[in-house]
Amino acid sequence: MPDLLIELFSEEIPARMQVKAADDLKRLVTDGLVEAGLTYASAGAFSTPRRLCLTVEGLLAASPATREERKGPRTDAPEKALEGFLRSTGLTKDQLEARDDKKGQVWFAVIAREGRPAAEIVAEVLDATIRNFPWPKSMRWGSGALRWVRPLHRILCILSDEAGAEVVPLEIDGIAAGDKTEGHRFMAAKPFSVTSFEDYSAKLKRAHVMLDASERADAIWSDATNQAFAQGLEVVEDRGLLAEVAGLVEWPVVLMGDIDETFLELPPEVLKTSMKEHQKFFSVKKPKTGRIEKFVTVANVETPDNGATILAGNQKVLFARLSDAKFFWENDLRVAKGGMQPWLDALENVTFHAKLGSQGERVQRIAALARELAPVVGADPDLAEQAARVGKADLSSEMVYEFPELQGLMGRYYSEAAGLPTEVAAACEEHYSPLGPSDDVPTAPVSVAVALADKIDTLTGFWAIDEKPTGSKDPYALRRAALGVIRLVLDNKLRVNLLEAFDHHGMASVMLKMAGAIEDIPDDASKALDVDLLAFFHDRLKVFLRDKGVRHDVIDACIAMPCNDDLTLLVKRAEALQEVLQTEDGENLIQGFKRANNILSQAEEADGVSYELDPNPKFAENDAERALFSALDDAAGAISPAIEAEDFAAAMAAMAKLRGPIDAFFEETKVNSDNDIIRRNRMCLLHKIRVICGGVADLTKLEG
C-alpha cells in the first residue's frame, strides 16, 4: 500500500489562513480519493508560511474494479426508449444483452469499470483541489490564469512504497509536480528531493523548517516562558497572538527585549495593545505588580550574534511606536484634565448612523434614559447621567482613534484623570459589557444604568428605522445588545419594565426625525414597535434560557402572562413552573387541567356560550365533586396572595395540590350530565379550574 505526500509551496500565506487551508487540503483530497474508490488508513495536514502539506498513509494502489448491471427497456420498446438507455449507460446497442424477463425480452447493460492506478486518481483529485481551493481571498500573478492565495511555485506530489518513490505526473498552469522542495528562505534555500513523509519532515528540519504549526507554537511558548521565568517575569498569555506568530515563522527564534524606562508608566493595556497590534510582540510582566516591563518577539532566523541586531532593530521600532502612544496619552491627559469638553463637542460631528443622528445626540438620549433607570437599578441619578454624558468621550481621544479596541478602558483612565467620581470612571469602561456570552456582567449600579441605557438606545433606534436583524445578518450586533440587556437584568435581579424604558426613550424622537418633524407620533405605531421589540427580547430570552435547561414551552407559558416585560419576574415564574413540572403532582395536574380545559372549550364552542358564572356547590352530586369545590377555594385562597407576593413556588405548590381532587373528580363524575343545570354548573366548575390555574401561567402553552 503506497503513501501519498503532497506539498504546495508558495509565497507567504497569510498567517490567519494557514491552519484552515491545511484542513481544507486534507478534506478535499481525501474526499476526492475516497469518492474515486481509493481508501486510505490515515491522513495528516500541516502548514507553514510557505507551504501546505498533506500526508496520506496506506492508500490503495489502485481503485477496485466494479461491475454494474442495469435493466433497460423491453426489446420491442420504441426506439426512443432504447436511445435514452444507451445515452444513460454510455454503451452502444451491440454491447447490450437481451435477456428473458417476466414481461418478455428485456435489454440488459453490463457496465464494467476497471480499477484505476492511484497516481491517475491522485493527479485528477489534486488538480481539481488546487483549481477550486476555498481561499478566503485569492489572486492571479504574472500572465497565468491560476488562482492561489499568493503565487504558487512548486507542487511536490509523490507516491511511495517499499520499492521507492514515484512522482505523480501532473501539471497545472505550467507548474509540473516533482519530488523537490526547499528549506528555510535564508538559512537553507537550496532545493532537495524527498522520498517519503519521514524523509521530507526530517530533511525539512535539517533545512530549518518546523513543519507543524502546533510544534512551532509550543516551541515559542516554552522558550518565551523559560526566558521570562529566568528573570523572574511572566509572559502574558495570548493564544490568538501565539497562533498568528507561529504562522509567521518557519524556524522560530524567541528573543526577549527591554521596553525603554520612559514608557513603563503608560497604562499596561496601552503597552500591550501597541506591542501586539503593531509589532506582534508578547508582553512580559512582573507577576507581583502586573507591570509590563519587557517584550518577547519571535524572529524567523538564527544569527551569528544570537539575534542582537534583530532585537536592537525591534527595540528601535518599538521606541518609535511607544513614543507615538506616549504622545497620544499625554495629549489626551491634557484634554481629560481640562474637563473633556473638546471631545464632547467633537462627538456632535460624528455620525452614529445617518438616520439616527450624531454620537452627540445619542449621548443625550442615553443620559436621559440612564437617569430614568437609575432608581430602578439603585444608582444615583446624577451619577448615572454624568457617566452617560462622558461615557463616549474617549471615542474622540487620540489613543482610541489609534487603538479602537481600547475604547471604554481609556475612558476610565481619562475620567479618573479628570477627577470624576470612581463610579463614573468605572461606568465609562463597564457600560460596553457584557460584550460576549463569556464576558462579565457589570454589577456597579451606575455602570448597570448606563449599560442598559446604551443598549436600549441602540435597540429602540434601529427598531425605529427598521434595521432589524434578519437571518444570519445582524450588522449592528442587535442580538448581542438584547442578550446584554437580558443578562444585565437577570444577573442583577433588576425589576425593569422594558416597555416603559422603550417608550420613555428616544424611539418617538427618532421617528419624529425620520418623518420630517411631524407633530405627533401615532401612538399605536410607536406601541407596535415596542411590542415587536419586546417579542425580539422574548426570542433572545428563550435561546438564553434554553441553554440553561429551561423548556421553551415553559417560557412560552410564562410569556403569555401579564408584566412579561419584567424579565426577572418572567424568569422567576418560569423557573417555578419548570420545577413543579418535574414533580409527579405537577405533571399530572397539567393533564387534569388540559382535560378540564378541553372539555370546557369544546362545550363553549358547541353551545356558543361561555361558562363564567360562579359554580354552586349545592349542585354537586358526589364527594369527589364536593371535594373539588373546597380544594379550589383553598387553592384560590393560597394562590392569589402568593402571586401578589411573587412567591411563584408557593403558588405552583398550591396549584399542584389540585391534582388529586381534579383526578378524583374526573374519575367519579360525568361532566356532561343529562341534567342541564348540573351540566352547566360543572362547566362553570371547569371554568374555575381554568381561571385559578391560569393565574399562575398559561398552561395551555405546555406541550405533552
Binding site: W141, G142, R185, F186, T303, I310, G313, V350
Partner: protein
C-alpha cells in the same frame, strides 16, 4: 577600523559606483561594513543602479503633486492593458495631513517613495526584491526579513491587490503588491509593485533616530548636508500653509475645475481633426485626476471636509481615475491596436 574588511571590494550588484568608494579619512564607525551606505542619496542611487541592472527603465519622478508613487502614470496607467512594462523611479509624495513642522522624528508632509512596477510580475520577484535590500546593505545573516499579510486597496484609484508589508527586524520597509484591479479593470497580466518608504528605510540602515539628522549626501563631503538642512524649513512652511493658510474657496474651485477639465478632455473624439490621427488624450486627463486628488488632500488637511463628505469626494476622484483607465485601454499603450478595432 578594519582595513581587511574593505580589502575585497566584492560587488555583487552590478559593478555599481560605490564599489570603489573608500572612506576619505578613515574615520568610520567600527560597526560599519564596507557595504553599508553612508547617506540617504547613496541608498537611492544604489536602488536606481540595482533596478537598472535588473532591466527596469529608470524613470524620473512625475512632475505633479501626488500622494504616493502609485499615482505616477508609469504605475497606475501602465499596469493596465496587455503590454509588458518594467519601470523604477523615485517619487516625491505629499500627504498634507502628515505635516508636523519638521519636528516629528518620522512624519513628513513631503517624503520620497521608491517605486518599482514590473508587468507581468516575474516568478522571482521576491528574490529580486530581496536582492535590492542586499544592495542597500541589509545582510540577511544578521537581519530578520518577513512577509506579513497586507492587502492593498486605493479607494481613489479604484484599485486593489494582494501582497505583504515587508518587515526588517520588525520594521515595515516596503509594500509588496500583486495588482489585481486598477481603475475598475481586472489586470491582465498582473503587475508586481514594490514601494519603499525611503526615509524610514534609510533611517534604519543609517542608524538615525530623527529624520532631520539623516545625512542627505556623504557626511564626509566638503559640504555635508543633512535631511534637515534640505527640508526642515520647507516642512515648516508647508505645514503652516497646509493647515492654516491655504485658501479653501479657491482649492474647492480648483477641484471642480480639474474635475470638469478631466471630463471635457475625455469627451473629445479620438480622431484629431487637425492631424487626422487617432489620439486618445489619457495622460492630460489623468493629470487632472491627479490634481483633483491632491486638492482633496489639501482640503482634508484644512479640516473643511466632514466625514460624510469625505466619501463623496473620494468617489468623485475615483470616477475620474476610472474614466482615465477606461480611456487608457483604448490607447495604444493600453493595448489598443488598429486590427482589434
Amino acid at each position: 577600523m578594519h582595513p581587511e574588511k574593505r580589502s575585497a571590494p566584492v560587488d555583487p550588484y552590478g559593478g555599481l559606483a560605490y564599489g570603489g568608494r573608500e572612506p576619505t579619512n578613515g574615520v568610520r564607525d567600527m560597526a560599519d561594513t564596507p557595504d553599508t551606505p553612508r547617506s540617504f542619496q547613496e541608498i537611492i542611487l544604489r536602488l536606481q543602479n540595482y533596478w537598472a541592472a535588473q532591466g527596469c527603465a529608470v524613470m524620473q519622478p512625475y512632475d505633479m503633486e501626488v500622494g504616493a508613487g502609485t499615482f505616477h502614470p508609469a504605475t497606475t496607467l501602465r499596469s493596465l492593458g496587455p503590454n509588458a512594462w518594467a519601470a523604477a523611479y523615485v517619487q516625491p509624495s505629499r500627504r498634507p495631513t502628515d505635516g508636523r513642522y519638521g519636528e516629528n522624528p518620522n512624519r513628513l508632509q513631503h517624503y520620497y517613495q521608491y517605486q518599482v512596477l514590473i508587468k507581468p510580475s516575474p516568478p522571482d520577484l521576491q528574490e529580486l526584491y530581496l536582492g535590492s535590500l542586499r544592495a542597500i546593505g541589509i545582510d540577511f545573516s544578521h537581519h530578520d526579513i518577513r512577509f506579513v499579510e497586507d492587502d492593498w486597496e486605493s479607494p481613489t484609484l479604484g484599485a486593489w491587490g494582494l501582497g505583504w508589508e515587508v518587515w526588517c527586524d520588525g520594521m515595515e520597509v516596503s509594500q509588496f503588491t500583486y495588482f489585481q484591479q486598477v481603475g475598475g479593470h481586472d489586470c491582465k497580466p498582473i503587475s508586481g509593485e514594490l514601494t519603499y518608504g525611503l526615509e524610514r528605510l534609510a533611517m534604519y540602515i543609517l542608524g538615525v533616530d530623527h529624520v532631520m539628522d539623516m545625512p542627505f549626501n556623504d557626511p564626509q563631503a566638503p559640504i555635508a548636508l543633512s535631511y534637515g538642512d534640505v527640508f526642515r524649513q520647507t516642512e515648516q512652511e508647508y505645514s503652516r500653509w497646509n493647515f492654516d493658510i491655504a485658501d479653501t474657496d479657491s482649492l474647492l474651485q480648483h477641484f471642480k475645475d480639474a474635475e470638469a477639465e478631466c471630463a471635457r478632455i475625455l469627451e473629445a473624439p479620438y480622431e484629431d481633426p487637425k492631424t487626422g490621427k487617432r489620439i486618445v488624450m489619457v495622460h492630460p486627463a489623468y493629470d487632472q485626476a491627479i490634481k483633483a486628488s491632491h486638492l482633496f488632500n489639501l482640503l482634508d488637511a484644512r479640516g473643511v471636509i466632514s466625514v460624510t463628505e469625505r466619501q463623496a469626494y473620494i468617489g468623485r476622484v475615483r470616477a475620474l481615475t476610472k474614466a482615465c483607465a477606461d480611456a487608457f485601454v483604448q490607447s495604444e499603450a493600453g493595448g489598443w491596436t488598429p486590427d482589434a478595432a
